[in-house]
């Protein structure tokens, strides 16, 4: 078992900093001896999300791909009143009428976890609508940048408003 070096079939396997099942073996050994046992799982090396114990940063993570390719998810279409059936607590923001807004807000979860969940959902819907599309354009990123400029302006408004009356700049 010592010193067996398999041929270099694929240069991409030479990545010493990827986690491997047999940490004590050097790379060449696991390439030579472990291939037959893990031949079925060889392609998973480069997709850490598919490993069972992968901990990803999930503050602003997008939702992982949960559908099957080729199956179009059916969004509820129909006329105006169809999206407004169902109890108020379960409807999305866009399906709530203006008069029902305070009641709907009262049903929302305002705990830190609930707020974080709301932020994540909003971010995911934004990404899925403008960025994760087949032919995304500059609009998705431009809206983010414009929002950033406006937010920065609002943040420094108290400071900038002194410039209005300044005689010499």
């Amino acid at each position: 078992m010592a010193g067996v070096t398999g041929p270099l079939l694929n240069a991409r396997r030479d990545a010493p900093f990827l986690p491997r099942a047999s940490q004590r073996q050097p790379i060449c050994l696991s390439r030579g001896s472990g291939r037959s046992a893990r031949a079925g799982a060889v392609g998973l090396e480069w997709f850490p999300e598919l490993r069972p114990n992968y901990q990803a940063l999930s503050a602003f993570a997008e939702r992982p791909f949960q559908g099957e390719p080729g199956v179009a998810t059916k969004t509820p279409e129909g006329n105006f009143s169809e999206g407004q059936r169902g109890p108020l607590a379960e409807r999305r923001l866009m399906d709530v009428r203006l008069g029902e807004l305070p009641t709907w807000l009262a049903t929302r979860d305002f705990s830190p976890r609930g707020l974080l969940g709301g932020v994540q959902k909003a971010w995911n819907s934004y990404c899925n609508k403008y960025i994760n599309v087949k032919k995304g354009g500059a609009a998705g990123v431009s809206m983010l940048l414009a929002g950033y400029c406006i937010l920065s302006y609002g943040w420094s408004y108290q400071h900038i408003k002194c410039n209005r009356w300044r005689k010499y700049h």
Binding site: F17, F47, E49, L50, A56, L57, F60, A61, E62, P64, F65, C127, I131, N132, V133, K135, G136, G140, V141, L144, L145, Y148, C149, L151, S152, Y153, G154, W155, S156, Q158, H159, I160, C162, N163, R166, H169
Partner: protein, 227 residues
């Protein structure tokens, strides 16, 4: 309340939170984490292409031990690039105009390269203090000079980035102020000044990208000497 041209480099607070915090966190939104699809969206594809280009460019001169620094250099490069470019948008704050932040980036990284060299190959690292082929009488002086240049590297790294970006932002503000002030009285000169402003903005975009690249390139060169 008289200083106005340098006011753009002080980060204003809202409810006690400084704007620099927002400027440091916003770039994370612009880089979506790659999902496990075979073909990603266009934004991720472009970013992955750029990332591969940068990583290849930086890692080719390094040996295998140096490749452990790939994540560090690549993430530093992406962060500096994004922060510098975002600072050119109106009303935004550029964290890299602050010397404190640039020194905080430059000093630990330079020290890490130096300590790596001194720990793993001390004689080879110290040998860099004397270039080959030096005439013998010059040796003491040259060692002093080389030591000084070694110790001044983090300062140079930090100040280079700060000075370039600060000067650029100041120039843009000055020329745009001149252009607006001239508009009621000498509109032709004002239009000329606006053309100069346009060219300067293009230059600033280039400087933003080049300075980020130079910072990381120099660090990789210092690593190359020591690893």
């Amino acid at each position: 309340m008289n200083l106005s041209f340098f006011d753009q480099f002080s980060s204003p607070n809202l409810l006690g939170i400084p704007l620099i915090l927002l400027s440091l966190l916003f770039p994370t939104l612009l880089f979506p984490s790659p999902n496990n699809r075979w073909i990603n969206n266009r934004l991720s594809t472009i970013q992955t292409w750029l990332l591969h280009l940068i990583t290849k460019q930086l890692m080719v001169p390094l040996n295998k031990n140096g490749h452990k620094w790939a994540m560090m250099f690549t993430s530093l490069m992406v962060m500096l690039l994004t922060i510098n470019l975002l600072g050119l948008l109106p009303y935004t704050f550029t964290p890299t105009t602050q010397l404190s932040m640039n020194m905080a980036l430059a000093f630990p990284l330079w020290l890490a390269t130096l300590l790596t060299g001194l720990r793993n190959q001390p004689s080879a690292s110290l040998a860099h203090l004397l270039p080959e082929g030096t005439p013998t009488p010059l040796i003491p002086a040259l060692i002093l000079i080389e030591t000084t240049s070694l110790l001044i590297r983090p300062l140079a790294l930090g100040v280079r980035l700060t000075a370039n970006l600060t000067a650029g932002h100041l120039l843009i503000q000055l020329i745009s102020t001149a252009s607006i002030a001239l508009m009621p009285t000498l509109p032709a000169v004002s239009i000329l000044t606006m053309i100069i402003l346009l060219l300067l903005t293009i230059l600033e975009v280039a400087v933003a990208m080049i300075q980020a690249y130079v910072f990381v390139l120099l660090l990789s060169l210092y690593l190359q000497e020591n690893i």
